[in-house]
């Protein structure tokens, strides 16, 4: 079998506490092994002298597959003009698209940036078969999906009528039958209100038709996920996203973890794309950044993790979310085009194209919020840099975002083109914090692996980990990154070498081989009597609510390319 020895690289591996040490990494049979285990005469030797070696990157929140990405492709033909890259057979298929690219570009571009694991963060349960079909077609990277549960009628019924154990058992059934990794809440309860009343609701408003508030939903789903001991407990997109003054809702949502009965010390709540929910002020003209308040709340509250949803100014974006009421509002702001869909029983979604402009006051404030949260809280283990692709910017601009986090000069250079009024009203210009490459390895490798509960196999270079390695052509001993951030962007845009599962897939920034990664999903083990009870309840509810039968709903393992089951022993096991 293939043996690879990466010699003399500058290794950043936060999970194993390695910070920029020069050492060798040995790979055998797709796993990382002790360097004594491989035979140097037979191994392929890679000289990584003066280059940075990290584990493959992990993106915890990027809309790469599913029905709404596909509708986005249909909605935006102009996104695909002049972005075509012809195929190079036999190892690379043709690529097209910028904010909603084709499946191949997703895989290749992520690989070129050194990312090897990407999570699709919102899939409606009934449409997850489609999501898996698309995930199956994405080359190179490993994948997983989060399933939407917040406006699901069955879940809401169980929250209001049944015990937490039964709710937990339903979620266990849902995760294993849709082959997804964790639970996602989008604007909890709002899609029910959207369908009935045509508008979204705040954290303590009542959901029409149910004697519940979004607060109850978050708390009860939190309790259920604690009972299930899910690695990634809850992925929450807060209520009132996109409205001025919504940072208060975000702070209140963070405080809900105090009402949840926690079974372990890990984060109980993940607030996603926090930039969109960190607006202070009471109208668009008086908009301010709530980044400082959120960063402060983060430091007080150890049970919350975040991802940024960092805006990339000067770039087109396609906002797509299951927060349908907000997309309706955004459509009236942009007055261009809008796609909206209601998924039976479960959720709704909207898609609106948007362009973030550099000189725009609101867009500059949005840019500031994401960076302020990260730079003020200075907690790389709980803050993941993402652009919520394609909502705040395309994922291909991640290197730009890294430069802003690692270099004050990069921020200052870009601030020149932005709205000076907005900058005058925010704290960002006076923040001097600069993260290091080690912090970057934490934020993009170690922390997301831990948050997803995959820290044994992903996100590090210790013995036994999957051989996903990215080597960047930048020498931190020679290049001072905070001064010469362009070098960083260049190095991270096109990785020098990427190894996926022990196979070299990218060489000098170009894809040289196409392989297909795995799809991870969680299967919580629940006691058989509870399982029977859930089946009995579901059979009745399915006949009542759904247009398909229970058997057609369940996705089989054969439908997934390279499935990996993560068995979870729950609190419910007797």
């Amino acid at each position: 079998m293939t043996q690879i020895l990466i010699k003399n690289g500058i290794v950043f591996d936060p999970i194993n506490g390695i910070n920029g040490e020069v050492m060798d990494i040995a790979i055998k049979n797709g796993k990382i092994v002790e360097s004594t285990e491989i035979d140097e005469s037979k191994a392929m030797i890679i000289d990584a002298r003066g280059k940075v070696v990290m584990a493959g990157g992990i993106d915890i929140h990027s809309h790469i597959a599913g029905p709404k990405v596909n509708v986005g492709r249909l909605l935006r033909p102009e996104d695909h003009y002049l972005t075509n890259k012809p195929h190079v057979l036999p190892h690379r298929r043709a690529e097209t698209g910028l904010t909603v690219p084709n499946v191949f570009r997703f895989g290749y571009e992520y690989a070129r940036m050194g990312y090897t694991f990407v999570v699709e963060p919102a899939t409606p349960p009934i449409k997850t078969r489609h999501t898996h079909e698309e995930l199956n077609a994405i080359p190179i990277i490993d994948k997983a999906a989060f399933v939407l549960v917040d406006s699901n009628w069955i879940a809401l019924d169980l929250i209001s009528e049944a015990s937490t154990e039964l709710l937990a058992a339903y979620f266990a059934w849902l995760l294993s039958s849709t082959k997804t990794l964790a639970l996602k809440l989008v604007d909890p309860g709002s899609d029910v209100a959207w369908l009935i009343k045509g508008k979204g609701i705040d954290l303590d408003d009542q959901i029409p038709g149910y004697d519940l508030t979004p607060r109850d939903i978050i708390r009860e789903i939190g309790n259920a996920s604690q009972l299930l001991r899910l690695p990634h407990k809850m992925h929450v997109h807060c209520n009132r996203l996109g409205y001025p003054g919504n940072y208060l809702t975000t702070l209140k949502t963070m405080d809900i973890v105090r009402e949840i009965k926690r079974v372990d010390d890990g984060p109980a709540l993940h607030i996603t794309h926090v930039q969109f929910t960190g607006y202070k002020g009471d109208s668009w003209t008086t908009l301010r950044s709530g980044g400082e308040d959120i960063a402060e709340a983060m430091s007080r509250n150890p049970y919350v993790s975040l991802d940024l949803g960092q805006v990339i100014p000067g770039r087109p974006a396609t906002t797509m979310t299951a927060d349908a009421p907000f997309e309706f509002v955004l459509y009236h702001l942009t007055r261009w085009k809008w796609a909206s869909a209601d998924t039976e029983v479960e959720t709704a979604a909207g898609i609106v194209p948007y362009v973030y402009r550099k000189r725009n006051y609101v867009n500059t404030i949005q840019w500031v919020i994401g960076l302020e949260v990260a730079l003020i809280s200075r907690d790389p283990w709980r803050i993941i840099p993402t652009t919520d692709h394609p909502n705040a910017g395309p994922f291909t601009d991640y290197p730009k975002m890294f430069a802003w986090l690692l270099s004050k000069k990069a921020r200052e250079d870009d601030m020149r083109d932005m709205s000076q009024l907005a900058l005058k009203r925010s704290a960002l210009p006076s923040i001097n914090t600069e993260f290091t490459l080690y912090d970057l390895a934490v934020m993009t490798r170690a922390a997301p692996a831990k948050l997803l509960g995959l820290e044994k196999r992903k996100g590090h270079l210790g013995v036994g980990a999957d051989a996903d390695v990215a080597i960047y052509d930048i020498d931190p001993r020679e290049v001072e990154i905070s001064k010469n951030y362009k070098k960083l962007i260049q190095a991270f845009k096109r990785t020098w070498l990427v190894i996926k599962d022990g196979v070299i897939v990218v060489k000098e920034g170009e894809v040289v081989k196409t392989i297909y990664g795995r799809t991870y999903y969680a299967e919580p083990v629940i006691p058989s009597d509870l399982e029977k009870e859930v089946k009995r309840v579901l059979e009745k509810k399915f006949k009542e609510y759904y247009s398909i039968t229970l058997d057609s709903f369940i996705i089989n393992e054969e439908e997934i390319r390279n499935p990996v089951k993560i068995k979870i022993s729950t609190q419910l096991t007797r």
Partner: protein
């Protein structure tokens, strides 16, 4: 002094060729050998200009693209993106060309002695395109899916033959003159500029137009009810073309609250415009 590079096809391509690098800007300052090595895409495959064309011209091209003339001795309707973003100079094609001729063009001129296909002069900002034959659909238009106003932003397109549907879709400024007939939906989503059709036009000219001016000197198949009849004019002169017959002026499109001017020949559309005549004359009383 203007130098000429004469390009003649070695073989007729069977698939679309992305010829966006055949522009005076790309040739400027290059040696003949370097020009022959410029890469085009034939289908998905890379091909060099020297493999597709025989090139005859001076050993070294001038630095200024304005001094370069490119002469395609034989055209092909597979050659797309000819004159992409060119800022000066001249391209003459003694035959047909394909889609997107003069896409995002900024200056200079393109003369096509045959026909062009769709999106000719799409999103152009300056310069002149003259087509002696017919042009395809979406002449000077925006791309499918873009906002109105993202089309042609300046310059001039003259078509001596006919043009297809959606002439000047989403155009912002500039001039389009068609000496023959035009297809349906002339000036749809138009936000400014001038379109003159000397011949006939298809259905619904000026749909969703916000501003700008459309003159149709021939017959129109039908008209949207969202246009207000404003006046009857004895003659109209637009962009140097004089029509010595009576015209009816409409303002619209009311659907989008537009203030565009639509001139329709009254002589040729008597049956269609008869009812409006009473309205216009009634207003005067």
């Amino acid at each position: 002094m203007v130098v000429t590079y004469a390009l003649s096809l070695k073989y007729v391509p069977a698939v679309l060729v992305d010829a966006r690098r055949i522009t005076p800007d790309q040739f400027a300052g290059k040696k003949l050998d370097e020009i022959k090595k410029i890469v085009l895409l034939e289908g998905g495959r890379e091909v060099r200009i020297g493999e597709l064309f025989d090139i005859v011209g001076p050993e070294r091209a001038p630095e200024n693209p304005g001094d370069i003339e490119i002469l395609l001795k034989q055209g092909s309707n597979k050659l797309c993106y000819l004159g992409y973003r060119m800022s000066g100079g001249r391209i003459v094609v003694e035959g047909d060309v394909g889609h997107f001729t003069g896409y995002k063009m900024r200056g200079g001129s393109i003369v096509v002695k045959g026909n062009t296909r769709n999106y000719t002069g799409s999103k152009m900002r300056g310069g002149t395109i003259e087509v002696l034959g017919d042009a395809g659909h979406k002449l000077g238009g925006k791309l499918q899916g873009e906002k109105p106003g993202k089309g042609m932003k300046g310059g001039k397109i003259i078509v001596h033959g006919r043009a297809g549907a959606e002439v000047g879709v989403g155009m912002k400024s500039g001039t389009i003159i068609i000496h023959g007939d035009a297809g349906n939906l002339v000036g749809v989503d138009m936000q400014g500029g001038t379109i003159v059709v000397v011949g006939n036009a298809g259905i619904y000219p000026g749909t969703n137009m916000y501003a700008g001016k459309i003159v149709i000197g021939g017959k129109v198949e039908c008209l949207l009810p969202s246009f207000y009849a404003d006046a009857i004019l004895p003659s109209v002169k637009a962009k140097g073309i004089r029509f010595d017959k009576s015209f009816m002026l409409f303002i619209g499109d009311a659907i989008v609250g537009g203030r565009g001017l639509l001139y329709l020949s009254y002589e040729d559309n008597k049956a269609l415009l008869e009812p409006y005549k009473e309205l216009v004359e009634g207003m005067r009383l």
